[in-house]
């Protein structure tokens, strides 16, 4: 890995898109730093953060050269572009487009994962069972497309790991902690196999980027009590 720090990444420990960016940097051999201290919901509204990142959200990136960027997939794509030999963005324009395609589809599914999580955690209130079920329906629909695509493939695009694999694995892992439980995983076997393959890449394991795949017996429910 290069010794020069390419930039600083603001994220939070539980943020899965942040993990995807870290994994991208690790795979690409790009060294990144983290802020000495960062308290989310506080520091991101302070003037020195807002001047750099006007939307006040994380993940956010500040290059060593002063270049600032926010939005998860754009940051990941940019970091990958700093190491073209990594192959993370494919070998051709078409491969790059397909990588885009799968990431975009996963982001759609992740949107629903997020809404489902907000219902389960009673953040989105009042609760609506019919809209919860609709979100699950849409999320599963997108995950099924990914699952089918992986039935005969190891990687999403081409024959080597790309940014699409990292992004999809990270966000499927997230969903595995929310509503993709044992029963759902059994119906998405190729997606689960793919996720395990990606998360177990030695470079990710060494860097300790991803948490273990959680055991989830049943999809989270707003009616379960939380400590």
């Amino acid at each position: 890995m290069s010794d020069t720090v390419a930039g600083t990444l603001w994220t939070t420990p539980g943020q899965f898109t942040g993990k995807a960016i870290k994994a991208t940097a690790a795979y690409a051999g790009i060294k990144i730093a983290y802020p000495a201290s960062y308290i989310h919901f506080e520091d991101n509204y302070k003037p020195d953060f807002v001047t750099k990142f006007p939307y006040s959200k994380v993940p956010a990136w500040e290059g060593a050269d002063g270049f600032t960027l926010f939005e998860s997939a754009p940051i990941a794509r940019y970091i990958a572009s700093l190491a073209p030999e990594s192959g993370l963005l494919g070998k051709t324009a078409k491969e790059a487009a397909l990588i885009d395609q799968w990431i975009h589809l996963m982001e759609e599914a992740n949107n629903y994962t997020e809404n489902i999580e907000l219902y389960i955690q009673h953040v989105l209130t009042p609760y609506s069972k019919s809209s919860h079920e609709l979100f699950v329906q849409y999320q599963i629909r997108a995950l099924r497309v990914l699952n089918s695509h992986l039935a005969q493939r190891t990687f999403l695009v081409g024959d080597a790991l790309t940014l699409a694999d990292i992004f999809i694995a990270a966000l499927v892992l997230r969903a595995c902690g929310i509503n993709i439980a044992t029963a759902e995983r059994a119906k998405l076997p190729h997606l689960v196999r793919h996720m395990e393959m990606v998360l177990n890449q030695p470079v990710f394991v060494e860097a300790g980027i991803f948490p273990p795949i959680p055991v989830l017996d049943k999809a989270g429910s707003p009616f379960l009590s939380f400590d």
Binding site: P54, Y55, F67, L69, F70, E71, S72, A73, P74, I75, R77, Y78, S81, L82, A93, K94, A96, A97, L98, D100, Q101, H104, L105, E107, E108, N111, L124, T125, P126, S128, S130, S131, H132, L134, Q137, Y138, R141, A142, V145, S148, H149
Partner: protein, 430 residues
Amino acid sequence: MASIGTLWTVPVQVPGKIIRAAAAFGGVTIDLPASYVHFEDNKKPEFLSKFPHGKIPSFEGKNGFKLFESTAIARYVAGLAPNSGLLGKSPEDAALIDQWIHLAESEVDTYTALIRNLVNGNVPGYTKPVHTALLERQLRALSTLEKHISSRTFFVGERITLADIYVAGLVQRALSVNIDKALRPKFPNLIRHTETIINQPAFKGIFEPTPVLETAPVFSPPKKEKEVKPAKPAAPPAPKAEKPKKKEEDDEDDNLVPEEPKVKNPLEDLPKSTLNLEDWKRAYSNKETRGPGGALEWFYENYDKTGFSVWRVDFKYPSELTQIFMSNNQVGGFFNRLEASRKYLFGSVGVLGEANNSLISGALILRGQDAEPVVNVAPDWESYDFKKLDLEKAEDKAFFEGALAWDLEIDGKKWADGKNVSDLPPVLPE
């Protein structure tokens, strides 16, 4: 320039317009389909084998390259014209273009779509607090965009990039959905930018003039008789295509396409009946059940035994039943799960007896002569026995009337509580 391929989209689809504009700007020729009917053609095997997600926009290159997802296509098309500057001149430019597109898509347009679909009832679960929360997020992102463009002509650098086209397209959409006269004054620079972009000569014929929305549509809860329209699997595609333009645009890029095309419901093909079930439900609600001028009298006068049939329904496992209110909830749940068949079904089902010594029984009035097609929308339908009733037989008639009048008695067990299909609350609680 020879066409690079075909873009499946429909004229009103906003991401489709953005891709077409990018192509036009970059001097890239793309074909639109000779004929494409959304909600029909995209469910056919030839479409799905190319584009497994079944959505538009979808792109098929002349050489067979297939791509879906709007931003992926837009970026790919823009990349075919590197001199256009649409993707900037450096990795940093490209990243910033990505950033603004991503922000506009995920933090503005996602909410524009959700607000529209909740307010118009396409997606269930509307409540004012949720609407307000979504609006706040959408406005927050629009404000970030507004601030950035207030001192600039273009989002990245000094020329048009894909970011400008994307932001303009999605802002224009927000302006036609919910950013009304009251909200417009918050975004003068964004509106200036949108108008500049969509009126570029290169984009002639692609974008409509930006409407000025007087007031954002408000949610109105559905009437009890009317069915709320969530994206049900059984919804046939044809009616959606007939709806006004705005709705069509919305459905196409808003992921409201039902997951699997269900086999057409045989109940739709039955010859018209003289009995209107909604009229019956109204009569049942408004009149006393028994007695002269009552609902039963109305029923016998209007019943069409060819078009409808009457059934006895019994829960198969009465020994499982404990508290009356819990069993009653079970009936309510069963009726909830029959929601998709609401227009083919009337029910009056009750819990008879006492705690730990009860049963569930009642009567259904169903469209057609067969119970299964109507009730199998409920996954637990097989927990119940269905027996067709013959109203010419005194015994069956008495049972039917007892169920409707809520005074049914079976084996000494008296009616304790019950449910009617027509007194279900609407799907959207207020």
